[in-house]
């Protein structure tokens, strides 16, 4: 990331001549400190002048020893200059900050989450209710004084409600049918609850309820050493688990200031692309399955099995792999693994072609998906869409091209882009992305660099077993790393990778101890799903399923 603090200072001092802003460049991130009343004006300024067009997320953090105990961070991104900016403000308990939903609609659920987890008030928010924890939950889970093992159980479900009016009662004068779609429904993948008010077959009003799979991953990250958080990251987007591992480890490695060896980078690219393929398989396959096309689902899953076999050869597990470690990979790939990857690429090409033959020109498929759930590029950016859903609207934003890592810049691949942002375009984009992933895989697997699969810094990586059992230094090193953990310098950063669904970001705050102080995940489908009620309102109830499937909502990532 480039240091743009000077430009920012000049820009802001012109627009806000009376205010002094504290701008710094820390650990490669540009950070701007503002007071709570300046947040919305500054955000609006950035949006209107076009310096930053994406609000990626709104995160909170709790520093109970400080008088102003809460930190609220707004992560901004510019798709033109590919720059990031973190806007930070501090609040004391009971203070509030004006809502950013007036500037970006996509701040909606992120602010609700901050309120849910910390109790931070966003003045003027249309719907400031709990989103991930249940309505009977008392207290705020991510505050430092909330014990990590205090469970609270929910004994009754909320009836159907829309917006922040939980006391919905159907109007007897109107002929509208309230309907629960989910949470236990074969087409709501993972437990997602959609509440609809139907006018015949049309959706008159819709609302969503999430949080059924909320396990408070972020609290678990605060209570576990850095390497032990990796299995938890598997369970975020469990359909493409290695990508979460890679995203998290990349953030921690940046906090430590280490660069992993080229071989490890190559293996990580391979894992990311394999995960992308299997994630798209699930999305397309399940989407089609929901609409009745069963063949593609079953056919594609044989390829998923092949990838599982590859993962199993590498680390022993199929689905939740925990394959990376901070500093590199957990172990060296076995002999011939890269050849097996190439073999898989050949087979997968055939698979994608099969898929296209089944669906792309299929009359029923086209009728069910063309024009359904269309969204314009501006609206998508408003909501914070990233990934295939964004690219299907025509915006060519892919972090692998915009902010390359691990050597993506040396690879030859294209980024497919759609036009109308409807379900059909999303399908086409995903299928083409699978093809491009195969291209990347072949390039990398043919030219894997030699060397070590992990860095050998003794303060970060465990020693080899023959040293642990063979000499006192290795034994002590092992003990100390397991007991005390690897400890990055105190600081914070935001790091993002292009996951299968969009930008998967990790906001990591380290306090110098062996456990993260705060780890916030920016899940791509969270931002996408908040637009769902708007997308389905006015459409047919059958289209709800189609749109839902195309958004690729994985509850593990959505609810964490």
């Amino acid at each position: 990331m480039k240091n743009i603090t000077e430009n920012l200072r000049q820009d802001l001092s012109q627009k806000f001549p009376d205010n002094k802003f504290n701008c710094e460049f820390v650990l490669g991130d540009n950070v701007l400190h503002v007071s709570p009343d300046q947040v919305v004006p500054v955000l609006r300024h950035f949006k209107e002048t076009g310096s930053f067009d994406f609000l990626m997320h709104v995160a909170g953090a709790d520093y109970p020893e400080r008088e102003k105990r809460f930190d609220v961070c707004y992560e901004l991104f510019s798709s033109r200059s590919f720059q990031r900016l973190r806007l930070k403000t501090q609040l004391a308990e009971g203070e509030s900050v004006p809502t950013a939903t007036t500037v970006w609609r996509g701040a909606d659920w992120f602010e609700r989450e901050c309120y849910d987890m910390f109790g931070i008030q966003f003045a003027g928010h249309p719907n400031l209710r709990r989103i991930l924890c249940h309505h009977q939950f008392k207290g705020h889970a991510l505050r430092k004084d909330y014990p990590a093992d205090l469970q609270q159980h929910c004994t009754e479900a909320l009836p159907i409600h829309f917006d922040n009016d939980p006391n919905y009662v159907p109007d007897p004068n109107k002929d509208l049918v309230p309907l629960n779609i989910g949470p236990s429904h074969p087409a709501t993948h993972g437990t997602l609850r959609i509440m609809a008010e139907l006018d015949g077959e049309k959706i008159h009003r819709a609302g969503v309820e999430i949080g059924y799979l909320h396990r408070c991953f972020e609290k678990m990250a605060e209570t576990h050493p850095y390497n032990q958080v990796i299995p938890y990251t598997d369970r975020l987007n469990y359909c493409s688990a290695p990508m979460n591992n890679v995203g998290y480890c990349k953030a921690v490695e940046r906090a430590l200031g280490v660069e992993i060896p080229p071989k490890a980078q190559a293996i990580r690219i391979i894992l990311c692309e394999l995960s992308r393929i299997i994630d798209h398989i699930i999305c397309v396959g399940a989407n089609a399955l929901d609409l009745g096309a069963m063949t593609s689902f079953f056919h594609l899953f044989t390829y998923r099995e092949k990838v599982y076999t590859l993962f199993e050869r590498l680390c022993g597990a199929r689905l939740t792999v925990a394959m990376t470690r901070v500093g590199g990979m957990a172990q060296d790939p076995p002999e011939g693994w890269f050849d097996e990857v190439l073999q898989f690429c050949k087979e997968m090409r055939q698979g994608v072609d099969d898929l296209e033959r089944l669906l792309t020109n299929n009359k029923i498929w086209i009728q069910r998906t063309r024009g359904v759930g269309a969204i314009s590029a501006e609206e998508a950016i408003e909501w914070g869409y990233t990934g295939p859903c964004l690219r299907s609207t025509g915006v060519s934003l892919d972090l692998r091209k915009a902010d390359p890592y691990y050597g993506y810049e040396t690879l030859d691949f294209d980024v497919p882009v759609g036009t109308s942002g409807d379900v059909y375009d999303r399908y086409l984009v995903r299928v083409e992305e699978m093809r491009q992933s195969i291209r990347i895989l072949e390039q990398v697997a043919k030219n894997v660099p030699g060397g070590d699969y992990t860095i050998r810094d003794k303060g970060i990586v465990l020693p080899e077993k023959r040293d642990v059992y063979g000499n006192i230094e290795g034994l002590m090193n092992h003990f100390m790393l397991v007991i005390k953990g690897l400890r990055p310098e105190p600081g914070e950063l935001y790091d993002a990778t292009e996951a299968a669904n969009g930008e998967l970001g990790f906001y990591l705050v380290s306090d110098g101890s062996g456990k993260p102080y705060r780890l916030k995940v920016r899940p791509p489908c969270f931002a996408i799903y908040q637009s769902f009620p708007q997308q389905v309102t006015g459409g047919l109830v059958a289209d709800v399923i189609a749109i839902l499937g195309s958004m690729n909502l994985i509850a593990g990532e959505l609810d964490r």
Binding site: Q152, T155, N471, I472, E473, N477, F479, M480, I483
Partner: protein, 519 residues
């Protein structure tokens, strides 16, 4: 005051400070094993090397005094190289014992290795083999292979306990710590050697193999073993307390504590405690929750008070509770129950004033002075004989006794129980179960109390120094503090904290709710 620069940082130190002390004052790290602030300088580990501007040769920091204007550093490559090899020499004969060694997690070698170490092992020869499990005495076990011969334990037995039981035998790399023939390591301060041993060579028989230290949390407290009031750290986790170690306090105990005080965690753990109140009498006991038992007892107390008058209820206190509890209890007794019959139970008047010259005192109560001060403030000064007379006369119908939590130092409990036999109602407040009470024929309430670790309060030691401490951990959450018990006995209500309220509500609402954290 002298000025010097350590690693670029200016430090001001008093005259006569050694460089290593100056490092500690300035808060910077320096590798060392054999130096200890409470012992003389040995200078044998050769790790605390520093570079002094103007001197060609590296010097050891523990034996070099600070001169005005000295510029010292220990982060140049030369010094770092010396320290790396110095640590390597310590490690070449060190056995691979970490998995079975108690010191893992608080080991000097492990900690300083990660910070200063060489990392790459080069010793390919066989390590020296020595005796592994040597019984040094009733409290300490020695493993000579792990010993790095820093001589801290030898200096301790020479200079602090002055019992001269330890020495270094043989020479060269066959050197071993050992005791002399027919003279085991058997003094009242022997376990301090385990504290100061930087590696796992000396281990405590009480603690070894029982728990790994990284599962333990620490709480600061004051030892309740005697009226010295040594400052201690108590190590605990969800299962209970595991050990007690001294904490530095220049005025009270320096760096040390006695072995008896280390046993004071045993009466705190669950298996030594009274978990529920026992109400009734011989052959018909019932278990109750402590709060409700106390309330019941309070009701009975009020009854008896109303019929018999204020002279019918008396309170017996031992010097084992905090000053705040005494003030609350005595205050309530006077204001709510209108009684001034409060007595001080002294268990060993003959050896009360004993002092062994180092730390052990004859008064085995931590807060005798606090109790006496509270009684003085309240204007109460009744001799023990007064109680005995009234008991004989039968004028006392209800006796509230705040029994000792450390029952091992009160061998006269049964004797006292005999004295109280004739009292109609006996309310005995105690942390652990009392044998003799089971056989009482008249109405009795045994109400569990919290121990010193579970309370916040202060003890006043023999010098009159008031030492405060916070709650360390809660072992029996339903037990009451003395103040709470007397509050309930006096007929008043207790307040619940906010967290407890949530827990209580949860418990009421949903029997699936699980909570951990309270033992």
């Amino acid at each position: 005051m002298l000025k010097c620069k350590i690693n670029g940082k200016e430090v001001e130190v008093p005259e006569g400070t050694s460089i290593i002390e100056a490092f500690k004052l300035s808060g910077q790290d320096i590798a060392h094993y054999c130096w200890h602030p409470g012992l003389s300088v040995a200078g044998v580990c050769r790790l605390c090397m520093v570079e002094i501007e103007g001197q060609p040769k590296l010097q050891i920091a523990c034996n070099t005094q600070v001169q005005d204007g000295m510029v010292i550093n220990n982060n140049s490559e030369t010094v770092k190289d010396v320290v790396r090899w110095g640590l390597d020499f310590h490690l070449i004969n060190h056995p691979l014992d970490c998995p079975i060694c108690d010191q893992a997690g608080e080991c000097g070698l492990q900690d300083q290795y990660m910070q200063f170490g060489k990392y790459t092992p080069e010793m390919a020869e066989r390590k020296v083999k020595k005796r592994k499990v040597v019984d040094l005495g009733p409290t300490v076990v020695l493993d000579t292979e792990r010993c790095i011969l820093c001589s801290r334990c030898v200096r301790f037995t020479d200079e602090v306990s002055k019992t001269h039981e330890l020495g270094i035998f043989n020479r060269g790399d066959r050197s071993e710590i050992g005791t002399f023939k027919d003279r085991p390591l058997d003094n009242k301060y022997s376990l301090n050697t385990v504290d100061i041993c930087p590696v796992g060579a000396l281990t405590s028989k009480d603690f070894r193999f029982r728990q790994r230290v990284w599962y333990l949390k620490t709480a600061e407290s004051v030892c309740p073993g005697c009226s010295t009031g040594c400052n201690v750290n108590v190590y605990y986790n969800e299962e209970g307390l595991w050990r007690v170690r001294p904490r530095y306090n220049a005025e009270v105990n320096g760096h040390w504590m006695c072995d008896e005080g280390r046993d004071t965690y045993k009466f705190v753990n669950r298996k030594a405690r009274l978990l529920e109140a026992r109400v009734g009498h011989k052959d018909s006991w019932q278990s109750e929750a402590p709060g409700s038992a106390a309330k019941q007892a309070g009701v009975k107390l009020k009854e008896v008070l109303e019929s018999e008058g204020p002279e019918s209820v008396a309170l017996v206190l031992t010097g084992q509770y905090t000053t705040e509890e005494y003030e609350a209890a005595i205050g309530l007794f006077q204001s709510e129950l209108n009684s001034t019959l409060i007595y001080h139970w002294v268990n060993n008047p003959e050896s009360f004033e004993d002092f062994d010259g180092l730390l052990l005192r004859g008064d085995k109560n931590p807060n005798t002075k606090g109790l006496l001060q509270a009684l003085e403030q309240a204007g109460i000064d009744r001799p023990w004989q007064d109680l005995l007379d009234r008991l004989k006369a039968g004028s006392i119908k209800t006796l509230v006794v705040a029994g000792p939590e450390n029952q091992s130092v009160f061998p006269d409990q049964l004797e006292k129980l005999e004295m109280f036999k004739e009292v109609e109602n006996l309310i005995w407040l105690t942390a652990g179960p009392v044998e003799g009470l089971e056989h009482r024929a008249k109405p009795t309430w045994q109400i569990p109390l919290k121990t010193y670790i579970e309370k916040a309060g202060s003890f006043v030691n023999h010098q009159g120094l008031k030492q405060s401490f916070q709650v360390g951990t809660i072992v029996v959450s339903s037990a009451l503090t003395l103040a709470e018990a007397v509050t309930l006995l006096a007929g008043q209500e207790l307040e619940l904290s906010a967290q407890d309220q949530i827990l209580q509500q949860n418990r009421k609402k949903n029997f699936f709710t699980e909570t951990r954290g309270a033992l």
